[in-house]
């Protein structure tokens, strides 16, 4: 059997985390290819439904990456995003999916190194957690 390679979606704020991801690129920092970035204008734009849908479709981990506290380009979108992440984590817990599969992280545009580090750490964490139980149940049948 192949070792488990998690699929991870990172919703990244255009102003900070997405720029940090590009920065990681220009610094040629390596992080696991498991992380796929979806650009959003603000972490506050990430809807609970988007996160739920991602899990429903079998993603193994999601993180929402917004600006540092007080630095949101749109004042407080990142704070709203944090609260929403807590809310969705609770939902996941209710249906028996490990809430640790979802995280909120805060990164500034200059933190390429931090972006790469978080990508690595999160991937490692999800790797340890194993596949999304939704997918796990699905795969023997498929």
């Amino acid at each position: 059997m192949q070792p488990f390679e998690p699929v991870i979606v990172a919703f990244c704020c255009h102003y900070c985390a997405y720029t940090a991801a590009d920065m990681a690129g220009s610094q040629r920092l390596c992080y696991p290819p498991n992380v796929k970035i979806v650009r959003v204008p603000c972490s506050g734009k990430v809807d609970a439904i988007h996160i739920m849908t991602a899990f429903q479709k079998g993603v193994d981990g999601v993180y929402v990456a917004g600006c540092l506290d007080g630095d949101c380009h749109f004042k407080n979108g990142n704070i709203r995003a944090s609260k929403r992440v807590v809310y969705v984590r609770r939902l996941l817990e209710e249906i028996g999916i490990e809430p640790e599969r979802l995280e909120m992280v805060k990164i500034s545009a200059g933190m390429g190194e931090r972006f790469a580090r978080i990508a690595g750490q999160f991937t490692e964490k999800i790797r340890k957690l194993g596949p999304n139980p939704v997918k796990r149940a699905e795969s023997p049948a498929a």
Binding site: L68, D69, G70, S108
Partner: protein, 290 residues
């Protein structure tokens, strides 16, 4: 719990200073206060803080109180005569602001309106006496008041640079206490070790000590304060710590937070001054473990 009861309870009290806007847009002020609900025991609204013309503390205090937080406001003598001061005090009481800090005022030359007329009709001790008089149901002219206001009054200590000025300040503070100040607010504490040495003397005042914690925001600010604030001691180690930090802003918040948590075992209360970074107070409180 009102501030008087908080003081009596002997529990550790955390106060946050919230500066009113220079202007009329209070949204930030209000938003910043709201997020402090259940995080601090009370907020302090300074009046024309440090000589910068801005919305007065009375209006700021009412706004703060409306957000459901216990509120303390500053009163000072430079800009108002005894009539205006008394009138404001009565207004404050009627609007539910029962906690006052009698504050010294910045020299007019250091203010942002250097050519303003200086009133100083009363001085700090005179103001304390005035508050006492009002609480006894009279005004300064001896006329009876309808109803008696009740205030919880504190005073601010002016920074001292050496032993002599410290002793001088202690004497003055004793006088203020005898005139009704029931707690004192110290100048900013940057080095708790040094502060501990002065604490024994401060404790002889026999009133709750509120230690001020000033949020340093950058190396340049740290340098400036170290050079210009009498008695402010900021070590090279501290500056190095900010410089070495990966995120300086967070480090500065941490430093202030740590100072708060160290003061927890030393004084009954702390007053956190963030001077414009009120929105970062939750992070600072997190860093303080509160």
């Amino acid at each position: 719990m009102n501030f008087q009861k908080q003081l009596e309870s002997k529990q550790f009290i955390v106060l946050a200073e919230m500066n009113t806007p220079k202007g009329i847009d209070v949204s930030r002020f209000v938003m910043d206060i709201r997020q402090l609900k259940d995080r601090v025991d009370a907020v302090v609204v300074p009046d024309l803080d440090n000589g910068v013309m801005r919305m007065n503390a009375l209006a700021g205090g009412v706004l703060a109180k409306r957000q459901g937080l216990e509120t303390l406001i500053h009163v000072y003598c430079r800009d108002r005569n005894r009539m205006a001061l008394q009138a404001d005090l009565l207004a404050a009481h009627a609007l539910g602001l029962h906690n006052l800090i009698v504050a010294p005022a910045q020299e007019i030359s250091q203010c942002d309106h250097r050519d303003a007329a200086v009133v100083n009709d009363l001085n700090e001790t005179g103001l304390l006496e005035t508050i006492g008089t009002l609480q006894n149901g009279k005004d300064l002219a001896g006329f009876d008041l309808e109803g008696r206001p009740e205030f919880t009054v504190g005073c601010l200590m002016t920074p001292w640079s050496d032993k002599a000025s410290f002793e001088e300040e202690i004497k003055l503070t004793q006088k203020k206490i005898s005139l009704g100040a029931s707690y004192v607010v110290t100048p900013p504490v940057f080095d708790t070790g040094r502060f501990a040495q002065q604490l024994a003397v401060l404790q002889t005042l026999n009133v709750p000590i509120v230690a001020t914690v000033f949020l340093i925001k950058s190396v340049a600010v740290a340098r400036y304060i170290a050079a210009n604030e009498p008695g402010a001691y900021i070590s090279e180690d501290l500056i190095r710590r900010i410089r070495k930090a990966q995120d300086r802003e967070i480090e500065c918040l941490k430093i202030a937070g740590e100072t708060v948590s160290r003061l927890r075992d030393m004084t009954q209360a702390v007053l956190i001054q963030t001077m414009g970074w009120e929105h970062r107070l939750p992070a600072l409180l997190d860093a303080a473990g509160l």
